[in-house]
Symmetry: C2
Subunit: 361 residues, 2 copies
C-alpha cells in the first residue's frame, strides 16, 4: 500500500533545500514562469470541465488537492492558491474545506517547505513524503492532482545506460541529445514504464470526476533534441564535465557512467500513454513556452542562469561526482554562460512546455 | 481556517531533532514506556467502543488517524501501528485504506521523521505542521486522534508569570511546584484555555463516532506537586539554574523570568473540561504509571536520565538561556543525577499518567 511496494526504490535528487545562495527557494524563476504560463490554462480547465456534482454524493465536504513533486516552495504555494481560487468559482454556497497535500521525495527539505507555508492560507496543509512513481494516497480520495516540472524526472536511470558493455552506454556524454538511438530508446522506455506506473497510481487515487494537470517539458514533433533549450543546456554541462576530465580531475569513465535522469516526451507520446492507461479522458492538451516569458534570465544576468540551473540540477551531479566537482562545474558554467546564452537565444523555444489536463472517468 | 487564526501564535519547543547523542529519537524511552502502558488500554477502548458502522454511511473507505504532537519518532510509529492493528480487528472484509497524519509544530524535525518512516508500513503517511491549539484538519475528516505526552505543554507561558510586577512572578523558580498559589493559578488558567481550544478543534475535526485517546501526565488528588516525579525533576533543574546564577554566569532575573510551559492536570479537571466542551463522551479514564515500568532509567545509568531529560527539555531552555548555559545545566544534571535518582525513588509515582479515551458524540 505504501510507495515502498514498488519493485525498486526510486532515486531522489531533490532540489536544493534551505534558503541560501543556491537554494531552489531563491532560484526557481524559470519554474515560476512555467507555472504562470500554465495558470490561465488551469483556470480554463477547471471552469469548463470540473464537475462539482461529481463529488456532491460524497457525505464529506472536503476538496483534496495534491501537488506532486512540490519541492521546497515558493512556486507550489502560488500554484495551489490559484487552483483553490479557480475551484471556489465553481462552488456555490456549500464551500468545502480545502485539504492540500504537498508531495515530494522523503529526501526533499520538508522543514523548509513547512516553515514557509503562507501564514494566511485558507486551507489545511499536509506534507506527503514519497515517490509519485507509486501509491501515495487512499483510493478515490483526491479531487485535483497537479504536477509541474516533476514528471520528466525518471524514477531511475535505465539499466542499459549504466552498463559499460551495453550499446546504450553513453560514452563522453551525460544526456541523449546527440547519442546513438540505443541511448535514446533506453531513456524513452524508462519514461514509458514510469509514466504507466504514475498514471495507474493516480487513477486509483483520484475520485471519479477528479482532475489532474501535468505541466512538463516537451519537444515538438520534427524538432531535434539538440535544438531545444534542455538539450542545449545538458550538452553544455556535459562538455564542461568532459573538459574537467581532460584535465585529469575526474576520469572520462566517471563522465561516461553519469547521465541526467530526465526525459523529454512529445505530446503524441503522452496522449498515447494516457489512452493506454484508459482511466482518464484528455480535457485539454496544449504546447506553450515559458522560455518566451523568462527574458530576465536570458537577458539580465548570466550569473542568474547558472544559479537556476544549479538549484535544480546540483543534487544529481553531487550524488555522482561529489561536492568539489559540482563547484567546479557550476563555476565554469558561470564563466561560460555568455556562450550558453547565445546558444539558447537561437534555440527552438516554441512548444517546449506541455500542458495536459486529464479527467478521471 | 489554518492554525494561524488563533489570536496568538503558539510557541514551539520541539524535541531535539536528528539522530545524534542528545536526539529525542535516541532518548525517549520514558515516552515509549508511557506508550506501552497505554497500549492495552487503547486496544480495549477500540475493541469495546469503536463503532465502524458510524463510518459505513460515508461513501469513502478511508480510515484517518492523527497523532498530535508526534515529535520525530520512533514512538509515534509503534503507536500508530498498534492503533491500526486494533482497528483492523473491528473491520470485516471491507478493510479500509488507512491514512495516517503525523502532526507537530512546523519547527519539529519532519525531515528526520519522514526519513525514518517504517519502509514496510501498510498505511499512507502525511505530515501536518502546526499547533494542535488550533484547527489542523477539515471538518469531520478524522476517525481516530491520538496524543501522547504532548497536551501537557502549554501553548505559551501565562502572561502574569512573565510580568515582574505581578504576584504570579515566579522568583527563584522555574516551575510552580512550591510557588505561591498565584503562580499555580496562572498555569492552571492557561491550561484550561488551551485545552478548551484543543477540544473545540478536535470536536470539529472528528467524525461522529470517532475516538480520541489522550495520554498525559497527571497528579492524583491530594498529592502535592513536590512529591511527583515531574515536580521533583523540574525543581532539580531550577536549583541547578539558581546555582549557576549564584556563580554569576547568568543573572537571577534570567532564572526568575524563565518557566517551563508545562502543566500537570488532575483526572477531575480533565473530566470537567471534557464535559464543558460537550461534544465528547468519556469512554474510559484511568490513572496508571509508566514510572513503575522504567526501572532501566532509574536503576541503570544516571547518564541515561540526564540524556532523556535533555532530549525533551533542551529546546525550551535553549530559547531562553542559549546553548552554552544549556550545556552547563545538563552537564551538572549528569553529575548530580545520583541525588536526583534518590529523590525520584522515594517519590509518589502511582497514578501519575492519565489515560483518557473519548468518543465524538
Amino acid at each position: 500500500m505504501s510507495n515502498n511496494n514498488a519493485t525498486s526504490v526510486p532515486e531522489a535528487y531533490p532540489m536544493n533545500g534551505g534558503d541560501g545562495e543556491y537554494s531552489y527557494t531563491k532560484n526557481s524563476s524559470y519554474q515560476r514562469a512555467a507555472a504562470n504560463v500554465a495558470q490561465t490554462l488551469i483556470d480554463e480547465a477547471i471552469a469548463e470541465k470540473l464537475d462539482i456534482e461529481d463529488f456532491s454524493s460524497a457525505s464529506s465536504n472536503v476538496f483534496r488537492i495534491a501537488d506532486l513533486g512540490c519541492s521546497v516552495g515558493p512556486n507550489t504555494f502560488a500554484c495551489v492558491q490559484n487552483i483553490i481560487e479557480a475551484v471556489k468559482q465553481k462552488y456555490g454556497s456549500q464551500m468545502p474545506d480545502f485539504h492540500v497535500f504537498f508531495n515530494d521525495h522523503a529526501a526533499n527539505d520538508f522543514n523548509t517547505l513547512f516553515a514557509s507555508l503562507p501564514p494566511e492560507r485558507h486551507y489545511f496543509a499536509a506534507g506527503v513524503p514519497g515517490s509519485f512513481h507509486g501509491r501515495l494516497f487512499p483510493e478515490a480520495s483526491l479531487h485535483f492532482a497537479h504536477s509541474s516540472y516533476a514528471t520528466h524526472w525518471l524514477s531511475k536511470l535505465p539499466e542499459e545506460v549504466t552498463n559499460k558493455n551495453s550499446p546504450a552506454w553513453n560514452k563522453g556524454k551525460i544526456y541523449y541529445t546527440t547519442s546513438p538511438d540505443q541511448v535514446f530508446n533506453a531513456f524513452a522506455a524508462q519514461f514509458r514504464t514510469d509514466m504507466a506506473i504514475f498514471l495507474e497510481a493516480r487513477a486509483k487515487e483520484l475520485a471519479a470526476g477528479g482532475m489532474m494537470v501535468l505541466i512538463m517539458q516537451t519537444i515538438p514533433d520534427g524538432i531535434h533534441q539538440s535544438r531545444i533549450p534542455t538539450g542545449i543546456m545538458f550538452d553544455f554541462l556535459g562538455s564542461i564535465l568532459m573538459e574537467i576530465a581532460k584535465e585529469g580531475l575526474i576520469s572520462e569513465e566517471e563522465v561516461d557512467s553519469f547521465n541526467i535522469p530526465v526525459y523529454t516526451t512529445t505530446p503524441n507520446e503522452m496522449a498515447e500513454l494516457v489512452e493506454r492507461n484508459g482511466s482518464f479522458s484528455i480535457v485539454k492538451m496544449e504546447s506553450t513556452s515559458p522560455w518566451l516569458k523568462v527574458g530576465h534570465i536570458v537577458n539580465n544576468t548570466q550569473q542568474r542562469l547558472a544559479r537556476e540551473l544549479r538549484a535544480g540540477m546540483e543534487g544529481v551531479f553531487k550524488t555522482h561526482f561529489g561536492s568539489d566537482i559540482v563547484d567546479q562545474v557550476f563555476d565554469r558554467l558561470n564563466d561560460k554562460s555568455g556562450k550558453l546564452i547565445n546558444q539558447l537565444e537561437s534555440s527552438h523555444k516554441q512548444g517546449t512546455q506541455l500542458f495536459l489536463a486529464l479527467k478521471r472517468k
